[in-house]
Symmetry: C2
Subunit: 325 residues, 2 copies
């Protein structure tokens, strides 16, 4: 029997971790955040009234075992004309939603054509927006306002969904049945915590037997984790999980000075590892999990995206050791 | 051994005839016109520099044996937002062209997902525009200018392509190997003749052994066959074929007065059957080949489209008799 592993996240981080885990002999489920409202996804939501396709598309492509052409097609981004800035995979999911009788049919159809390994599970099928409140009382509504061009440097004291939604039953089952639950990497407040805000997710995690493995972010994120060290990430996440994290994977590979300079000019910096045994009781795994390529650019969805990434294969190797698979 | 049948055309007429022929026990090839420049297709050509997808998409969907959802998806037309007026199938073909190394790969991939019965063959892989010259000396360049809002009522004296193109070798083989060649229905100068203008097509038809079966249009078309009776259609077509037509299928079903009124208000009328044995030596098959539904509207590509159609199944029955299959 293969181990049942459930991954939670979205965005580029979800793509990276799933691309690596796909190669392990495990039974994978990916619970995907459905609160994106920026870029191509945001325009499709607004104009067509569809569910946000962007995070789903990234996870579906990551788990795809279809010929490369299909993966390239789904990641293809139009650069001119009526479709400028739109991603073909997003258009595919949106049109498919329009002609399907329900979203299960959408997932079945797209998984068939992409030959997806494992199950990609939207955390909810309801439309909602992520909102956060800062310590200074400012409230931001909509994932894109929190994620992009956000100059708030204070702490987020409270994150919530508006309107409230129902969890996808498949997401709850995937948590219940998981032998281990992997969280991240990904922007804490826009990719990870939105999943935990969906009613039923937290309580199912609390009662689930699977260990929680958290992949720590490499860099801080302006507007959500500006001044955060590793322990801040852990404390916020444990608050929304209602449960202690069992294992944290922290990068100890050296980040190129040029890359740090680029981030610094964007008011972001490496997440400092300030975890110690008096503050965190779980296991800490420090390892070089950086991509070999010094710098990467990804214009898939937004004009500027993280230029530093985790390496899929390095992450998968560390995780396979933890899972003993 | 199944009979090898090659169909030539495009647009709605191509869709109708192929949808019916798909059900016959024959080996089908469809040679598709690649000169459309209007609507969604025209915008995609202009903005992305792709080959015109519209006619191909119609033929591919007509021959699809995939579940209905795929056919619905490929015919889905966005009605709002950035994609307004665009057809998903057109977007699919365009994005696929962008990520494929050649158009054969595009056709293979789309045929795989649509489970296309038979072969859909673009007459050329080169980009070109259809041009026509009228008896008053007016020259129109671009299929959309000839097809849409064209007020010319005179005869077209000369049709040509600019720039000149090369034929797709598969199209030449499909003509050579065909036991019968079916032409139409479809707008004579914008769907049928453009195929015959591609170098090599005419000479291959001339030397081919397959009989030529022509499905006569139901209505005249403003700007291309304004004052045409059935014999005018035959004479023009035989000119571009360089060969006599063997069989003509002409509708003798009664067209509803309301529909005739609608066409009259658009300066179009039923094609009068003025064929007689002194002017045409081939076989004439007169039959009711009209759709049962009195009026149909199709907003797939353009805002107003022919509201009267041939019936797929009735056409297929007549053709199956001719082919003895």
């Amino acid at each position: 029997m293969k181990k049942k592993i459930t991954v939670m996240g979205g965005g580029t981080g979800g793509f990276v971790v799933l691309s690596g885990l796909k190669k392990l002999p495990i039974e994978l489920s990916a619970i995907v955040t459905m609160m994106d409202s920026g870029g191509s996804t945001g325009r499709l939501r607004d104009q067509l009234g569809v569910l946000p396709p962007g995070d789903l598309r990234q996870c579906l492509v990551a788990l795809s075992e279809a010929p490369d052409l299909w993966r390239k097609l789904f990641l293809y981004r139009f650069e001119t004309g009526d479709f400028e800035g739109h991603n073909f995979g997003n258009i595919f999911l949106s049109a498919l939603e329009k002609v399907s009788s329900n979203y299960h049919e959408v997932l079945e159809t797209v998984s068939y054509v992409l030959k997806t390994k494992g199950q990609v599970i939207p955390v909810t099928f309801d439309k909602t927006h992520l909102c956060v409140e800062y310590e200074n009382g400012t409230i931001l509504k909509g994932e894109s306002h929190i994620d992009e061009n956000n100059k708030e440097t204070g702490r987020i004291t409270h994150a919530f969904l508006e309107p409230q939604v129902s969890a996808n039953g498949d997401a709850l089952s995937a948590i219940e049945n998981a032998q281990e639950i992997i969280i991240g990497p990904g922007d804490l407040y826009t990719s990870i915590i939105p999943i935990l805000l969906v009613p039923g997710i937290k309580s199912h995690i609390q009662s689930a037997s699977g260990k929680i493995i958290y992949i720590m972010n490499l860099m801080t994120k302006l507007g959500q984790t500006s001044q955060y060290g590793a322990m801040d990430h852990i404390q916020d996440l444990e608050g929304y999980l209602g449960k202690a994290i069992d294992v944290v994977i922290v990068n100890n590979g050296k980040i190129d000075a040029e890359i740090i300079k680029w981030y610094t000019s964007h008011n972001e910096r490496p997440v400092i590892n300030d975890i110690n045994s008096s503050t965190f009781k779980g296991m800490v795994i420090e390892e070089n999990v950086l991509t070999g390529a010094a710098a990467l650019t990804n214009k898939a969805d937004k004009l500027t995206r993280s230029i530093l990434r985790h390496d899929s294969d390095k992450l998968a190797r560390v995780i396979s050791r933890i899972l003993s698979v």
